[in-house]
């Protein structure tokens, strides 16, 4: 069967460096760090005392108080970012066939804070369970997609993908596939996360996954730098409206770019460590290129997973060299996590948005906080260190890798490609 073409017609972002797509993009190209001391709880006894929190967010500006209190922060972020994307897409909500619009969302964890609060509340009591009736529907990782569907009466395919830090690349690929296979004409997709909580920080700290650079949070996320010491936890949401090409053209929609392809693979190696040679990372990029019908030489840029962990950045850099060969040195590679921190299940969505906007504006956001080369990483690769670079971007790939060894990669390209 002939697959339908899929384009991006709406974007929404709620991130540690900007609460709208415009603010997010300005933060990205200006090399803004979202890291700061944690404000949500007392970090006195925590090894890491900073994170990339969303700032200046007042949920009641967007969602009725009664509804908002039944949503975990991760779901509030989902709704707010989706609102921006749907509005940006300019969908005619009266005329559109609501049965042909779906929602596929991604979240790595779901309502961690809700879970934590309810269990702490139980532990502080006398053993009698007094759980809030909204505990489960607030906490479950699929509720965000449900809430978005109810807000807009979108009755098409609806579910949530969970693959840790690859979750919202998986949701994007699924949404892309459902549209190109003809199961829907438009999809709201993306991901959200809100794990800057006692349990989230404590848990990731226990794994030695987080940077502990407490004396200088804004330079803590330093992908590919020799002195990187772990990732910086971020939170927020990214939302995209994907649409079948003819459907978008027929209504005169503004089209950002086309989704060229999606790749998926597994490391099948270790629960948290990457394959040392980047095998899964290499395969996922090759799978993505094959799906898009493009060659490595067609690619202008790669938005890395690049979390600023000692092992991960090496493995991914090796994989890029294997996939692209000499062309690796012509690419603009970047890790926007240097600015946003690691949004876990929302990372894929906000990084796809960064990639899409780099095509739109012809600017590659930088990998900030580069001070010293790491001899284990090929310094001939252009990692777009420290300052944004101008480049006519036509094809960009965005990598995400999740605990469990899940890898997902999406390719976006200029419409005329």
């Amino acid at each position: 069967m002939k697959l339908r073409r899929v384009v991006v017609t709406g974007l929404g972002a709620l991130t540690p460096i900007g609460n709208t797509v415009e603010e997010y993009w300005n933060g990205l190209i200006n090399g803004k760090s979202g890291a700061a001391p944690i404000t949500y709880f007392d970090t006195t006894n925590f090894k890491t005392k900073f994170a990339c929190e969303v700032k200046g967010f007042n949920v009641q500006d967007f969602i009725d108080r009664k509804e908002a209190r039944k949503m975990d922060r991760y779901a509030q972020y989902a709704v707010v970012a989706s609102d921006e994307a749907v509005k940006d897409a300019g969908l005619d909500l009266e005329k559109i066939d609501h049965d042909r619009v779906g929602v596929i969302w991604g979240s790595g964890i779901g309502g961690l804070e809700t879970f934590q609060e309810e269990v702490m509340n139980f532990a502080a009591g006398n053993g009698t369970p007094k759980f809030n009736p909204f505990f489960i529907p607030k906490m479950i990782a699929d509720i965000a997609g449900g809430l978005i569907s109810m807000r807009y009466n979108f009755r098409g395919p609806n579910f949530t993908t969970v693959s840790a830090c690859a979750s919202s690349t998986n949701s994007l690929i699924d949404a892309f596939n459902y549209i190109r296979l003809g199961h829907a004409d438009a999809m709201v997709t993306g991901g959200s996360e809100a794990a800057v909580t006692i349990a989230g920080m404590g848990g990731f700290n226990a794994m030695h996954a987080l940077s502990t650079r407490n004396d200088d949070p804004t330079t803590a996320s330093r992908p590919m730098d020799k002195d990187r010491d772990g990732f910086v936890l971020g939170e927020g949401a990214g939302a995209l409206v994907l649409e079948e090409y003819e459907h978008a053209v027929a209504r005169g929609a503004k089209i950002y770019c086309e989704i060229g392809g999606g790749g998926m693979s597994a490391d099948a190696h270790h629960i948290t460590a990457p394959h040392p040679e980047g095998l899964g990372a290499k395969n996922v990029m090759l799978n993505c290129l094959r799906d898009a019908g493009l060659t490595p030489q067609d690619v202008d840029g790669v938005n890395m997973h690049g979390t600023s962990t000692p092992l991960g950045d090496i493995a991914e850099s090796k994989a890029i060299l294997e996939v692209f060969g000499e062309h690796a040195y012509n690419l603009n590679v970047n890790s926007t996590k240097s600015m946003t921190g690691h949004l876990l299940g929302a990372a894929g969505a906000i990084e796809a948005i960064a990639s899409i906007l780099s095509i739109k504006h012809g600017i590659v956001p930088p990998t900030i906080n580069h001070f010293t080369d790491d001899e284990n990483i090929d310094s001939k690769i252009n990692f777009t260190f420290n300052k944004a670079q101008k480049r006519d971007m036509k094809v960009v790939m965005s990598n995400t890798f999740g605990f469990g060894g899940h890898n997902a990669c999406v390719l976006v390209k200029k419409l005329e490609m």
């Binding site: 009725d64 108080r65 009664k66 007094k130 809030n132 009736p133 909204f134 529907p137």
Partner: protein
């Protein structure tokens, strides 16, 4: 208005996000105040916490209006 009645009404206004004027004795949580089944369970739990009482499930089923809640709690606190 008794102290209990005003505290009950305050909880309902807070949890259901309704206007204070709507919270009259005969108002039904579900039919008049927009509560769903989970909202109703949450209200009962809030009453238990606020007034330090236990409301067994079989009796909670009979509390569906503002007035019924106030009467039940007043009786329980005697």
């Amino acid at each position: 208005m008794s102290d209990i009645a005003s505290r009950v009404k305050a909880i309902i206004v807070d949890k259901l996000g309704v206007d204070e004027n709507e919270v009259v004795a005969e108002a039904s949580f579900t039919n008049d105040l927009g509560a769903d089944s989970l909202d109703t369970v949450e209200l009962i739990m809030e009453f238990e916490k606020e007034f330090d009482i236990q409301i067994p499930d079989d009796q909670a089923e009979n509390i569906s209006t503002v007035g019924q809640a106030i009467s039940y709690i007043e009786e329980a606190k005697k």
